[in-house]
């Protein structure tokens, strides 16, 4: 109980004092997770939309696969990226291991299946409604993809938030590929893991509270945008 109280006090202290080290970690967390979200969205959203509209042999298998990949263990993704990016690995020459770039890549790999699977679910219903009308306009499945993505934009915002939340809360993959280097690849989650290792549970919990506050803030912002825009576009 005392630890909990002290965690909240420390959390507020961290937020209010605008400690530069904490701010740098927060900024890096946002930079890594938002970049990963952009990368994953560029692939996952069109892929999910295509799965919603296209009918091809093996489609069921692909859908099952993306659904299963949603549960991809972060550490496995981390190891995979580690082996790819290691100097002894196939992509070693880029020197990305233990850099923020590697962390962005790992988080993007982790959340792309989530974005694709959720996008498919969201857009499938819309496609049922639109299919006949769009075909009447002469639009095939390929042309329907951007139409559905645009018309589903407010629903997809929720999908993006789910991806962002998963990316920002993830620790296993970024720990392995980022190395938790102070001032360079240390993000909120790896800092929390480190403070837990050091037995400073109140500080770890305080950082966790700060992370929650950030994720909450991003969600509130996005929902605000969504509700204002939805009122306009119906």
């Amino acid at each position: 109980m005392q630890d909990l109280a002290s965690a909240f006090t420390t959390a507020f202290g961290l937020i209010l004092s605008l400690d530069p080290a904490v701010l740098a970690i927060v900024a890096l967390s946002l930079r890594v997770s938002l970049s990963a979200l952009l990368l994953a969205a560029l692939i996952g959203l069109p892929l999910g939309a295509l799965l919603a509209v296209a009918r091809f042999p093996g489609r069921g298998g692909v859908i099952t696969l993306t659904n299963a990949l949603m549960g991809l263990p972060p550490v496995v993704v981390g190891l995979l990226i580690y082996l790819l990016l290691s100097r002894s690995g196939p992509l070693g020459s880029f020197g990305l291991l233990f850099t923020p770039g590697a962390m962005i890549l790992a988080q993007a790999v982790l959340i792309t299946p989530i974005l694709a699977a959720l996008t498919r679910q969201v857009l499938e219903g819309m496609w049922e409604e639109y299919a006949e009308q769009l075909r009447s306009f002469g639009a095939g499945p390929w042309r329907a993809v951007p139409t559905l993505l645009w018309d589903g934009r407010f629903l997809l915002l929720t999908v993006l938030l789910a991806g962002f939340g998963r990316a920002a809360a993830e620790v296993g993959a970024v720990m392995v590929v980022g190395g938790n280097i102070e001032g360079f690849t240390r993000v909120m989650t790896t800092a929390i893991a480190l403070e837990t290792s050091k037995g400073d549970l109140p500080l770890a919990l305080a950082l966790g509270i700060v992370l929650m506050a950030i994720v909450l803030g991003v969600n509130a912002l996005a929902q605000g945008v969504r509700s204002i825009a939805a009122r306009w576009a119906g």
Binding site: E129, Y130, E132, Q133, R135, S136, F137, G138, A139, R143, T147, W150, D151, G152, F154, W232, A233, G234
Partner: protein, 240 residues
């Protein structure tokens, strides 16, 4: 480019359609020519909507063929369809009207003028910025008509366009349809509403249980139907 040749007449030959083992249409042979609106009439389940979708190319026939006066893919670009329940995009009224023009490859400079003209035609000129899905049902159907009209199709299919509308909205839809017909658009429309058919039709096609029982000029059909079933239908008896 060659001079625009007409896509009409539209003919079918032994057209049939089955789904899930049930025969919905069989042996439909029709000829639809340019001129006043052609109305497809018949009881619910007679196969009107399926026939319209076969003609428009949304369904593939199980038997027979649909012929246009030019290759089908060329003809496809010069026809449009409005559905019983309009499927509006989650965008503004104007964006809905611009969308098919963009797909049809209409030059960017021309799209806005055509969209605004079509919206004026249906009386939605002052609603261009409104979200389409916030319109009333009647307004939504008028927007669907504007969207089709902006394409300036040679032939417009209408599937029960006023089935879910109140009398005032129905009247507005009919006025738009007549205006388009007067401008030279061939209308092919289904309805189960005899009074509506009388008001609009130049040519009648009577469907019963998946077969065309009669095709005749409207006046002849209403005065002297050839089949006993059509006579019963015109008397308002339940036929199926």
């Amino acid at each position: 480019m060659q001079a625009p040749q007409s896509i009409l007449p539209l003919c079918t030959e032994g057209l049939g359609f089955s789904a899930g083992g049930a025969e919905i249409l069989s042996d439909v042979s029709l000829k639809i020519t340019a001129g006043a609106p052609t109305l497809l009439i018949g009881a619910n389940g007679a196969g009107k909507s399926v026939l319209l979708r076969l003609l428009h190319g949304l369904l593939k026939p199980s038997a027979g063929r649909v012929f246009w006066a030019m290759p089908t893919d060329h003809a496809a670009r010069r026809q449009a369809m409005v559905f019983q329940r309009p499927v509006l995009l989650r965008r503004s009224v104007l964006a809905n009207t611009l969308y098919p023009l963009m797909l049809a490859g209409v030059a960017q400079g021309e799209r806005l003028a055509r969209a605004e003209e079509a919206l004026a035609l249906v009386g939605l000129a002052d609603r261009t910025a409104d979200p389409a899905r916030k319109l009333s049902v009647g307004q939504q159907q008028r927007l669907a008509l504007a969207r089709a009209a902006a394409l300036q199709p040679e032939l417009l299919f209408l599937d029960e366009p006023s089935a879910s509308l109140d009398p005032a909205a129905t009247r507005a839809v009919e006025e738009i349809v007549l205006t388009l017909a007067q401008r030279g658009t061939k209308i092919v429309m289904t309805t189960h509403d005899l009074a509506q058919a009388r008001r609009l039709a130049g040519d009648m096609v009577f469907l019963h249980r998946g077969s065309v029982l009669e095709q005749a000029p409207a006046e002849a059909f209403f005065q002297q139907p050839a089949s006993a079933t059509a006579r019963a239908f015109l008397r308002g008896e339940l036929v199926w």
